[in-house]
């Protein structure tokens, strides 16, 4: 039984991802869910490295863990009433949700396992250099659009909050 090293890593990472995912999905406490998200993102990054997509892994950690997770935690903290010692994260209809989840998982897995993928074991390693080239010549247009999108998002977020302050300028002067 020749269990190779990457397999062990894969299993550990998979367990990490799914465990955190489960916590995110099922925990009653929103904060614990938020923090378990961190574990999930880290596990995913690990998988990227395992799949020799090093830049992407790094990017994952950078964007998700650094960016998205922080924003979420902020949101959580802001929307929780200070007084609430234990933030409620009520759940409803867990059984049908789980059922739906199982069904979709079953479907995807069957597709994954039984679909005749054209495997090419010696896929080229995605170096940063090749990625950069790809980003700037074949995928230039989407790249530029993406930047536009980010700009729009930024403005949108600012607009939302500013209108907020103007409205509630009277009671909160933050």
């Amino acid at each position: 039984m020749n269990i190779t090293f990457p397999d062990i890593v894969f299993v550990i990472l998979a367990a990490l991802i799914l465990g955190c995912g489960a916590i995110v999905a099922y925990s009653r406490n929103i904060v614990r869910a938020g923090f378990s998200l961190l574990g999930a993102f880290a596990g995913v990054a690990g998988l990227y490295f395992l799949a020799q997509a090093n830049f992407i892994g790094a990017a994952q950690i950078l964007i998700y863990v650094g960016g998205v997770l922080v924003v979420i935690l902020f949101a959580i903290m802001l929307t929780r009433g200070i007084a609430q010692a234990h933030s409620t994260n009520p759940r409803q209809m867990v059984i049908p949700a789980t059922l739906m989840g199982l069904i979709s998982a079953a479907m995807l897995i069957t597709i994954a396992l039984y679909f005749p993928w054209r495997l090419r074991p010696d896929a080229p390693v995605a170096t940063v250099h090749s990625l950069g080239n790809a980003l700037l010549d074949t995928y230039l247009i989407p790249f530029e659009f993406l930047s536009l999108l980010l700009l729009a998002a930024m403005i949108g977020a600012v607009m939302l909050v500013r209108k907020e302050i103007k409205e509630s300028g009277k009671e909160e002067s933050r």
Binding site: I3, T4, D7, F10, V11, A14, I17, L18, G21, A25, Y26, I30, A33, L37, A40, V44, A51, Q52, I56, A59, I63, Y64, G67, V68, V71, I72, A75, T79, N89, R91, Q92, M93, V94, P96, A97, M100, G101, S104, A105, L108, I109, A112, W117, L119, R120, P121, A123, P124, A134, L135, Y139, L146, L149, A153, M154, G156, L160, V161, E164, E167
Partner: protein, 104 residues
């Protein structure tokens, strides 16, 4: 049990993660909980992209797309949180069931 790391493994993990995301969205009443689910599903998608890039594709489209997805996810999260905050400000709660005044 020869567990040579192949494409199906990644796909299975991604699938499971995806369904966990789904479960999270369906069973949460808290708007943020909802968003967490979205983030999980996006990551699952990314895993698939990378897996395919690794095992099937010859060019880098998989990787590039993964990048794009991440960027999008970030933008989306920001906007989402802004909205959530706006809702919180006006309605003092972010319970998905109650914010239904769009209903006809």
């Amino acid at each position: 049990m020869t567990l040579t790391l192949g494409l199906p493994h990644f796909l299975v993990v991604a699938a499971l993660l995806f369904s966990l995301g789904l479960v999270c969205i369906l069973s949460r009443r808290n708007a943020i909980g909802l968003l967490l689910g979205i983030e999980l599903m996006l990551n699952a998608a990314n895993i698939n992209l990378i897996a395919f890039a690794r095992f099937v594709e010859s060019d880098l489209s998989g990787h590039v797309f993964a990048l794009f997805v991440m960027v999008l996810a970030a933008a989306e999260a920001a906007i989402a949180m802004a909205i959530v905050l706006a809702i919180f400000r006006s309605m003092k709660h972010i319970d998905v069931n109650l914010t239904v005044n769009l209903k006809e």
